[in-house]
Symmetry: C2
Subunit: 343 residues, 2 copies
DNA sequence: ATTAGCACTCACACTCATAGAGTGCTAACA
DNA sequence: TGTTAGCACTCTATGAGTGTGAGTGCTAAT
């Protein structure tokens, strides 16, 4: 078990390293007013902390650096959240200032502001599009043989896709179909769409529309929408600002991971509630073994949730980021819920 | 005036440097079968070429590197376009393989494939959205006080924006308005939209709709759409692959420029026709002084144009990129024109 | 006009010495 | 017994000195 003094020294060491990015020596520490001990005493304690695996040396005669275990202990037990500075709160509030009516727009801005406030990379995941429900379907003919299918969802998201109309189909039939679809599918979630499409509409189609099979399968294809476009980044390039990242190869790997959308679920576990911190190799992706990721979820109404992630070096300003994310998560939940409910 | 042999040596020097990224020495060159001269001879010629400003030395006793003037002469006079390898053509064709019906989708894929083929960064600019013409307008109510305005354009692009409905407005009026708008504005380009909005519809509104003023200005706001979302990138990270870029600061500046949409017009001059090469400081942006940019335009139908840019180091494989862009520009023009015309 | 020969230059890699920051250990101290 | 001063030790970072090699420019011979 760690003594009070060891805890204090661990905390101050981590804090100092987070701030300076330089290995921390006993002399430096003894100068701080929180630690009224001689360098020698501190040295002894640090040696113990190293023995217990909380600190590491970069070489025999260097100062110490927090180990993964050290960071973990720090965030689990030594993190004393401190209220956000006024300025930060003001900036966060500015996200909602302009009365933007679009969920996505708000999330985009959040990503930007968050990355500016932290100097790390922010990734925001909007609510799962598949949980949106259909407000209105329509089909707009473009040329002789193409048309665009449009689905408007309950919170104003618009999905659209151009498709090819089967040769020589009656425009009146398409119109009929759209009407039927709107009648039957309003309020259905995008996720259930292709299921309900068959259950509810196929029989009606048979009665009212010629060549229903062809038309049906065409439309079916058109409404199977991609649903990966609700990821928003802020400060992708902030990685380049961190002195921790100097190895071009590693930077490339890291940026690659973030660029490739398929890796996003690994960074931002979709289901999880509340705030999570993953440090270094606690991340599943090997490209992120030198990073820490802090995630938090937010809620829109009772049904929909989104998440926020901050990606930075292990030497991340945990205290600040945690409070920022806590606050933002709350604000986002509040404002976005308000938005979908109408004022 | 340069002699035949000087031209040959300049060409081979540039080619070699483009390939190896290493300063080129007289010994190396004399080994090539194209240059059956002794190192000494080549040295003399190179000294002349340096005197004339086509080559440079990195230090007194180093090999030579093309100067900006050297590259310029090379692309202007020494570029012997060579037919694309089959494999490349095949890859370019693969862009259109899947019968994608959406202009944007095709452009997105082009950006990706192009960046893969070149290992440089590709920027593709879609046709100016403002030149699209209105196919259909609609307004879908979401909550008590919000609705989403949707504009479908002639080539299947869908613009949408959520807006706030003025307090206590009659839904029937909105419906009326949309009908009027569709009657009057179909075929109008987005650019002229707000102009024609007033000219053509304001008087009609006065006759048919209560509180036309409020409704009109609300809708007017909603249709002033942003039009910057038709820029697509491929291989943003390819910059990190080039050995020419090792200075983290410069990489940051460069990536910053590309990330910021406001700088795009500087990279991709919108009006220009045909193929252009800008080398080093010929670029207006100082962050790109170590880059070369090759741009080319393509046409969709008679009205609309887009452009393609490749951003790479000055030591770019001009020959290859020029032929690639030439070909792609042609293919894109052909296929996209076909698409908006219907098959 | 071309080329072989040669002296010269400079970057790069290597070694070596030194300074400085930090440690661990021991012995003295309160 | 916990704390601290002192000291020897270790390792990095820095800079000076050196040798090597690739390359050049010039001159004289072909």
């Amino acid at each position: 078990m760690l003594t009070e003094r060891q805890l204090l020294i661990l905390k101050v060491t981590v804090d100092d390293y987070i701030q300076s990015a330089q290995p921390v020596g006993s002399n430096q520490l003894s100068k701080k007013s929180e630690l009224p001990f001689s360098p020698a005493t501190i040295r002894n304690e640090m040696a113990d902390l190293e023995g217990l695996g909380f600190l590491e040396k970069t070489h025999t005669s260097s100062g110490r650096v927090p180990s993964q275990k050290g960071y973990r202990y720090y965030v689990d037990h030594l993190l004393t959240p401190r209220p956000l500075p006024k300025q930060d709160i003001q900036q966060l509030r500015s996200i909602f200032e302009d009365k933007i009516a679009e969920t996505e727009e708000v999330i985009k801005r959040s990503a930007m502001i968050l990355s500016e406030l932290t100097n790390y990379t922010a990734i925001l995941l909007g609510p799962d599009v598949r949980k949106h429900t259909v407000k209105k379907l329509s089909i707009v003919p473009l040329t002789m043989d193409t048309a665009v299918a449009i689905i408007v969802t309950d919170n104003g998201h618009v999905e659209n896709r151009v498709f090819t109309i089967p040769e020589g189909l009656d425009p009146a039939d398409i119109e009929k179909m759209v009407n039927i679809l709107n009648d039957r599918l309003a309020g259905v979630s995008l996720n259930d769409l292709h299921l309900r499409l068959e259950q509810e509409t196929l029989t009606v189609f048979k009665q009212h529309v010629n060549r229903y099979g062809e038309l049906f399968s065409t439309f079916r294809q058109a409404v199977i929408m991609p649903h990966d476009d609700n990821v928003f980044f802020g400060g992708k390039l902030n990685i380049l600002k961190q002195p921790d990242f100097h190895d071009l190869q590693k930077i490339r790997d890291l940026m690659n991971v973030m660029e490739e959308h398929k890796h996003i679920p690994m960074i931002l576990p979709v289901g999880s509630q509340g705030l999570h911190i993953r440090i270094g190799s606690e991340n599943t992706l090997s490209a992120m073994e030198d990073c820490s990721v802090i995630t938090v979820s937010y809620d829109i109404g009772e049904e929909q949730t989104g998440s926020i992630a901050i990606v930075g070096p292990k030497r991340m300003d945990y205290k600040r980021v945690v409070t920022l994310l806590d606050t933002l998560s709350g604000e986002l939940s509040k404002e976005l819920t308000r938005m979908i409910r109408g004022k």
